[in-house]
């Protein structure tokens, strides 16, 4: 079933065109990852889906009564606002105590219910954000660089948990990520964004697309080359040529 359908979406943000003619859709149970350089409109796209930004052209169609589980890129809680982890988990919809205990256990934070949000470490905070997004049984998880501030092990267990949630609940996942090696192994579909959709498809298709290489080839050659060595055994000629030209200087 299609949960989110984006039709020719164009978006202006303080008079600058951020997105133009973006179209794609996400169906239930899919893990779709958006990659793209800084300023390519990834966050704006997610914010347009939740309705925080109004499209200047095109439209965003949603399944009726869709439930979002949204994990923002950054969440600053003002020092003046006292809030415990368990109170935070009950926003915006109230859930019962056993659901909170279960969510904290699943997030690996069983003892933190009464701790102030401002006292959490970066990694704990991130996991509480995910627990809050999951607690309301969302149709689709929207993750905006959700593993920021996690170490490698934390990030790996984060993605494992997402995979598990998808298997158990069948919810879709639409995420923004910079960790290309994870993207390539964990996603069903990758959308490469740079103000418009550069290319789209399975990880293997996107990785070999010239548009993708133009965007990521130079600065993420390592991860990409590694992926390709492992997965399709083709050697990245571009990469080597570039390396040679660099050594000539």
């Amino acid at each position: 079933m299609t949960l989110v359908q984006i039709d020719n979406l164009s978006l202006k943000y303080s008079k600058r065109m951020v997105l133009s003619n973006v179209s794609f859709e996400v169906s239930s149970g899919e893990i779709v990852t958006i990659v793209g350089p800084n300023g390519s409109g990834k966050t704006s796209l997610l914010r347009a889906i939740i309705g925080a930004l109004k499209p200047s052209r095109g439209r965003v169609l949603l399944k009726s009564d869709i439930r979002f589980g949204y994990v923002p890129q950054k969440l600053h809680i003002d020092e003046t606002l006292p809030i415990t982890v368990s109170r935070f988990l009950r926003l915006p919809r109230n859930v019962n105590g056993s659901a909170i205990d279960a969510a904290l256990l699943q997030a690996g934070l069983p003892d933190l219910a009464k701790v102030q949000m401002s006292h959490l470490s970066g990694g704990q905070f991130q996991r509480v954000l995910l627990a809050r997004a999951l607690i309301d049984k969302p149709d689709i998880l929207l993750l905006d660089e959700a593993t920021q501030g996690l170490d490698q092990r934390g990030s790996a267990s984060f993605y494992k948990q997402i995979e598990k949630v998808r298997q158990e609940t069948g919810c879709a996942v639409l995420m923004i990520s910079h960790e290309l090696h994870v993207v390539m192994s964990a996603s069903d579909r990758v959308i490469c964004l740079n103000g418009h959709v550069c290319c789209e498809g399975t990880p293997a298709v996107v990785a070999s697309a010239p548009e993708y290489r133009a965007l990521f080839g130079a600065d993420t050659g390592g991860a990409l080359a590694l992926y390709q060595h492992h997965h399709d055994h083709s050697h990245d000629d571009d990469h080597e040529r570039q390396y040679q030209s660099e050594t000539k200087h």
């Binding site: 914010r47 589980g69 600053h76 003046t80 606002l81 006292p82 809030i83 915006p92 009464k114 102030q116």
Partner: protein, 264 residues
């Protein structure tokens, strides 16, 4: 019981403290302190207009406070720096208000009563207006509580939860205008912001959840009214400012408590 002016004064003060507690917390959390101040200052223009058009003071100040609040929201969306904007609007509306009052020939008004409040002169009907206003504010905030809290925490989280933060901001703005209008008689336009911010700020130290902070702020505000009026009666000081002084002492005490607890 209501025949005693001191009883009426206490009840009026408590009414304001009750309305100010939840609203004051939002003003503190959302860093709108100056916004509250500007809305309150604009109220003096409302007083002048009410007298000129023989409207009730309550209606006049609610209208002007609302106009002020929406003007600020509108202009801030257009990219003016908020503090500059509020500085301009707060003091120019106060000045226009004071000038407008001077044009009201034939009506002798006690300006000091509007600037600093005249809680000892609260009538039965004033008391009615104050408690209806306070009830309205409390009901409004209680009704929208979760939506207001989520929008305050993060606007995108609110959107994702099906809440429109813009609408919640309007709810808060209306509640603020009502609170300002009912507080004029009690503490006057210059000290309304103090009643909003000081009890909430003092309550922060003693609170682990937002709900608790509202309750503690209400208690501190109520206590400030009771003690402040008592002090004003005994040592013959102006009532409104005395209340604010007691609240300020409570804040001082809470800061000391915080300092001690973080040292341990």
């Amino acid at each position: 019981m209501l025949d005693d002016f001191l009883v009426r004064a206490n009840l009026a003060g408590i009414g304001v403290a009750v309305a100010a507690a939840p609203l004051g917390c939002f003003v503190v959390w959302r860093r709108m302190a100056y916004f509250g101040d500007a809305t309150a200052h604009a109220a003096i223009l409302g007083v002048a207009l009410s007298l000129a058009f023989s409207l009730s003071i309550f209606i006049g100040t609610v209208i002007v406070a609302l106009l002020m609040a929406f003007t600020v929201s509108l202009l801030s969306d257009r990219g003016y720096a908020m503090d500059t904007l509020l500085g301009v609007l707060a003091h120019s509306t106060l000045a226009f208000g004071l000038v407008a009052v001077s044009f009201l020939s034939g009506i002798r008004i006690d300006l000091m009563a509007y600037l600093f409040g005249d809680i000892l002169a609260v009538s039965r009907s004033d008391l009615g207006v104050i408690w209806i206003g306070a009830g309205l504010v409390v009901a409004l905030v209680a009704w929208r509580w979760t939506a207001l809290l989520t929008s305050t925490l993060n606007e995108d989280l609110a959107h994702a939860g099906g809440i429109d933060p813009k609408r919640e901001k309007i709810v808060l703005t209306c509640a603020l205008a009502i609170t300002v209008a009912v507080s004029i008689k009690v503490v006057g336009v210059l000290l309304i912001a103090a009643m909003l911010i000081i009890p909430a700020a003092a309550a922060r130290v003693f609170s682990k959840t937002p709900e608790r902070m509202v309750l503690v702020a209400g208690a501190i505000g109520t206590l400030s009214v009771l003690v402040g009026l008592r002090v004003a009666y005994i040592i013959d000081t102006p009532a409104g400012p005395s209340i604010v002084c007691v609240a300020a002492l409570a804040f001082l005490l809470s800061s000391v408590t915080k300092g001690l607890s973080t040292k341990e």
